[in-house]
Assembly symmetry: C2
Homo-oligomer: 410 residues x 2
Amino acid sequence: MSEFFKVVAPDQAFQVLKKHMPATVGAEMVDTAGALGRVTAEEITSPEDLPAFARSTMDGYSVRAQDTFGASEGMPAYLEVVGEVPMGKAAEVSLATGQAAVAYTGGMLAGSADAVVMVERTQKVDERTIEVLRPVAPGENVVQSGEDVRRGDPVLPKGQVIRPQDIGGALALGLTTLKVSRKPRVAIVSTGDELVAPHQRPGPGQIRDINTYTISGLVSSCGGLPIHVGRVEDDFEAQKSVAAEALDMGDIVVFSAGSSVSSRDLTASVFDSLGDPGVLAHGIAIKPGKPTVMGMADGKPLIGLPGNPVSAMVVFDITVRPAIYHLSGCVRPPTLPTTTATLTRDIPSQAGREDYVQVRLSEQDGTLEAEPIFGKSNLIYTLVRADGVVRVPLEKGGIYAGEEVSVRVY
Amino acid sequence: MSEFFKVVAPDQAFQVLKKHMPATVGAEMVDTAGALGRVTAEEITSPEDLPAFARSTMDGYSVRAQDTFGASEGMPAYLEVVGEVPMGKAAEVSLATGQAAVAYTGGMLAGSADAVVMVERTQKVDERTIEVLRPVAPGENVVQSGEDVRRGDPVLPKGQVIRPQDIGGALALGLTTLKVSRKPRVAIVSTGDELVAPHQRPGPGQIRDINTYTISGLVSSCGGLPIHVGRVEDDFEAQKSVAAEALDMGDIVVFSAGSSVSSRDLTASVFDSLGDPGVLAHGIAIKPGKPTVMGMADGKPLIGLPGNPVSAMVVFDITVRPAIYHLSGCVRPPTLPTTTATLTRDIPSQAGREDYVQVRLSEQDGTLEAEPIFGKSNLIYTLVRADGVVRVPLEKGGIYAGEEVSVRVY
């Protein structure tokens, strides 16, 4: 039981695991169109120039720029309109000196043209002739071939979480599949003699297992794949066997432990039985969430979350979430939404411990206020009623009413 | 073409549509466990008390509080241990005066007990006797029946985006299905003679259709259901027929129009042909994104996004996104992630126009800097290279280098 005393600082919690973890969980090919939120498993470079041809950025006329030099309203340049380049078609018209062709936004330039004059800067003289009222420089109102991306350019770095625009960027180059990290599988085991399934009516002394589902939601929301391994009573052999199955199925094993000392000790014994190095830390200097067990077996993190739902969510964020991002090969994890608000009541804390306090947000006379919810951490509705959470750093003794705080918004 | 001049202010863009829109798109029942991100379609009230029985919050002994009154280290109260209440079991032991029973965190209290003494505040005298070193008040270390939620209490408001903890909260009460808003269907039509599918090799003058997929990603990310209706050339009859299909399939119709004036006019004509009131606005005072067409038919918003990818994304956020939230019945839309950064270069703007400038974020000497990307709005890689976007409000003439800006992070 020496590990009982290995309490780690909150910012060290994930580091303890990371040291023993593999870099990623491997890759797979997916359709680009369905790759939102996935993480690139390699640097993507462009197979071609984009755009593939010089395109007009305006409605007007493609011209040879030098034919417009010196043009003004008083002394316009007269150009002969020799045709048009329809949208989506190759330019079949080519310009000689003094000639122009109708151009559309996004369309190809006429042969020999090097600029486009906006239609607003021209006047029609007759069916075949326009006046150009201002000069254009070569390249004006034109997107050059390769101006967006050149063949061979890096377009998406390795480890990027794919956003809607990245899907567009890849498809623009014809990259209809992408190599992404496999979604890290998080095998969830709920332990406790008191648990029944949510659809069951609990008998006296029993409660419904909810942590499995809350944790699943959290896993999905950070790009992992939750796997429900099962509910298991507080019995060493039974838990060991389910844990071995979880270790086989998951890249990360999460135990939602009971909250009694004996059930936490049981989690630690089960983790130790799974392989080396076994339990690495027993406790995090955080409130709520201290009774957390962390370990490692087979290169896979084993995380025993506290049974209290509020504690479980706080600890998830500093252990399981970073582990999922790490195994996804995610270089810059998504920014979580935050807001600034004025605290309405003092939050007492102890130096040397990081406190997380749930808050409700409300607007009072145009100011956003954060009202602490000092609910017990074993009440799920403390979380349901919360709009976000405020962190009191390790070194602070508390935060006073009236102070501005940063709230992580749920 | 009078509607050509109906340019609306950015904050009015969605209001123009909202006036004509139905409240929501209707509801459906879903499994609570899979309801993450869905929006509740009714207020949920609790069918039962939670917890259903008084639970211990500590490992220790259930007691009758009055038996501990006056206890101290010097003068402990002696109690007879008459049994235990195992986890997950009904209390089969009941206390008489001067008696205690072993209690576990989360377990039921013994009959007649009204408080729990922490094990740390006791000393074992022999197998049947403990000393209690400090008094407990009635209710101490106990979660009372109904303390989390009482039967009939509202637990989730109507219009709430379901979070992981809300899933836990509902399941704790045995609510295994929830009534949620149907996902608003967004029917996407890409128009333009120049478009080919992403898997095709574009011929001269052609480009791959990417807006369909970028927009789909955006729709999914705010809880809508994207439907690809198709790509269609710049022909009134062809577009009208596809638009009618889109109106039939979608709750919102999004046209990704070409960028030439004629293709925008075509979009407006097609919208006008679909029913009353037809086109409501033609242009938003925003850069990029001015050439936006908005209309309404059959009580469904018709939104013609600019063809330029950067413009399309900016306009999506102030038109399609709020329309999806509105039709979901979403009362408090999710907070988008933002950060504060120092601008590295001046952003010029015009008063009377809202500017959106893409930025790259980087940390320099511990300070987060936002570097404007003044890329052309018709280049998708302007968006791919961006980490976020800065808004220059309507009334401001620009933002200077060195100013702190709020960046919406992608």
